[in-house]
C-alpha cells in the first residue's frame, strides 16, 4: 500500500474517532510539521508551540477534511498559517528572530561548513515570510509545486512566482549578488 492510500485509510479511521489512526498520522507528519515551523520561525520554542497547536487543531477540524488524500498538505496549511500569525504578532517587538543558536560567535569550535550553513540559515530568516514559506516548502521539505499550491491555497504559477522572488532575495541576502 503506498503512503497516500495508507493516509486515506488512516484519515477515515481517525475521522470516525480512531485515536490510534490519528496517532500514526501524528507520528508520520508531526516531525515535518515541526521542521517546517522551525524553519519558518527560526526558533524552537515558537516552532514547538505551532506544532502542538496545529496538531490539536487538526484533530478538532479533522471531520471537516473532505479530501482525505490531502491530509499532509492540509496539516501543513494549518502550520504555515499559524507561523504567519505568530510572525505577525511578534513583529512589533522583534525585528529578526535571532534565537537560532549563533555558531558564528564561537568561531573556534566551528567548521567552515557549519559556518556556511549558519550564514544560510540567517539569510533565509531575512526573506519576507511570504518568500520564506514557499522556499522552505520547496527547497528544504522538497514538496512539489502542486503540493505547495495546495498548502498556500493558490495556483502553481503563483507558487513559481513567489519561489523566483524568494530565490533572488536569498541571493541578495547572502550577499552573492552585489
Amino acid at each position: 500500500m503506498d503512503r497516500k492510500t495508507d493516509d486515506i485509510h488512516l484519515v477515515s479511521a481517525a475521522q470516525r474517532g480512531d485515536l490510534i489512526a490519528f496517532e500514526l498520522l501524528v507520528r508520520r507528519y508531526g516531525t515535518p510539521a515541526y521542521r517546517i515551523a522551525l524553519r519558518i520561525l527560526g526558533n524552537p520554542t515558537d516552532a514547538e508551540d505551532v506544532m502542538q497547536d496545529s496538531l490539536l487543531q487538526a484533530w478538532q477540524a479533522l471531520p471537516e477534511l473532505r479530501d482525505r488524500r490531502f491530509f499532509s498538505t492540509w496539516l501543513y496549511r494549518i502550520v504555515t498559517n499559524r507561523c504567519l500569525n505568530a510572525i505577525r504578532s511578534r513583529r512589533a517587538t522583534e525585528v529578526l528572530p535571532n534565537e537560532i543558536e549563533d555558531e558564528t560567535r564561537r568561531p573556534n569550535h566551528v567548521t567552515e561548513a557549519r559556518r556556511q550553513l549558519q550564514t544560510l540559515r540567517r539569510a533565509i530568516m531575512r526573506l519576507t515570510p511570504e518568500q520564506r514559506v514557499p522556499f522552505v516548502l520547496r527547497e528544504l521539505e522538497g514538496l512539489s509545486y502542486e503540493e505547495i499550491a495546495e498548502v498556500l491555497g493558490t495556483t502553481v504559477p503563483a507558487v513559481k512566482g513567489r519561489l523566483h522572488r524568494a530565490r533572488l532575495a536569498l541571493l541578495e541576502a547572502i550577499g552573492a549578488w552585489r
Binding site: 475521522q15 470516525r16 474517532g17 480512531d18 485515536l19 490519528f22 496517532e23 501524528v26 507520528r27 508531526g30 516531525t31 515541526y34 521542521r35 522551525l38 524552537p44 514547538e48 506544532m51 502542538q52 496538531l55 490539536l56 487543531q57 484533530w59 478538532q60 477540524a61 479533522l62 471531520p63 498559517n81 499559524r82 500569525n85 561548513a113 556556511q116 550553513l117 544560510l120 540559515r121 527547497e139 528544504l140 521539505e141 522538497g142 523566483h164 530565490r167 533572488l168 536569498l170 541571493l171 547572502i174 552573492a176 549578488w177 552585489r178
Partner: protein
Amino acid sequence: MAVNREDERRLACGRELLPLVDQVAEALPPVEPEHQRTCPHCQAALGELEDLWRQVRALAREEIVAPDRMRYVIRRIHEGLAAPPREVRLEEVLPRLVQHAMLETDRGTTRIADSVVARIVGQAVRGLRGVHLAGRPSAVSVAVSGGRVTIRLPLALRYGLGLAETSTAVRASVIERVEVLTGLVVDAVDISVEDVFGGDAG
C-alpha cells in the same frame, strides 16, 4: 560576480539570472547549453549558484528531531482535551477510588460505581455540539451518597456560544441521562467553564 547595474537580474552577457537560478535549484537542463559552455559570466554565476544550492541541500538534509511535545499532543488528545469526535474512554474517566451509589429495593441492592456515572456523564457531554470536557477527563468528579449523586464537570465551550445557556443545556442533558440510565437522583451538576476553543481556528 559581474551583474549589470541597471537590471540586477541580468548578467554582463545580457542573459537573465533567473533561468540560471532555476536551472541550478531545480536541476534543469540548460536553456542555452552552447552559450553557457563558453560564457565566463554564466559560468561564474552557475559556479556560485551551485555552491549555494549545495549548502541549501545540506541544510535540507540536516536532521531535526521532533520534540517531546509530540507525545504531549498525543496524550492531550487521549485525555479528551481537544474536542475528540469520539466517546471519552472508560479508563480515562475512572476515578482512582471507586465509590458506589446504592439503589435499595425490596429484593436487594444495586451498587453503581461512580466511574459508571462519570462515563455516562462523558457520553452525555459528547452528544452535545460545541462542548467537550476540559482538563483531565478524570476531573469529572462524581460524589455519590446512597441513591444520590453530585457531579462536578469542567467544560470547554466552542467560542461564541453563550456560557449561561450552554451550561443550562449541558446540565439538563447530564441530569436526564444519568437519572434515566441509573435510576439515581442527581442533586447537582456543578459546571465550571475552563476553556474555549475554535476562536482562533485559522
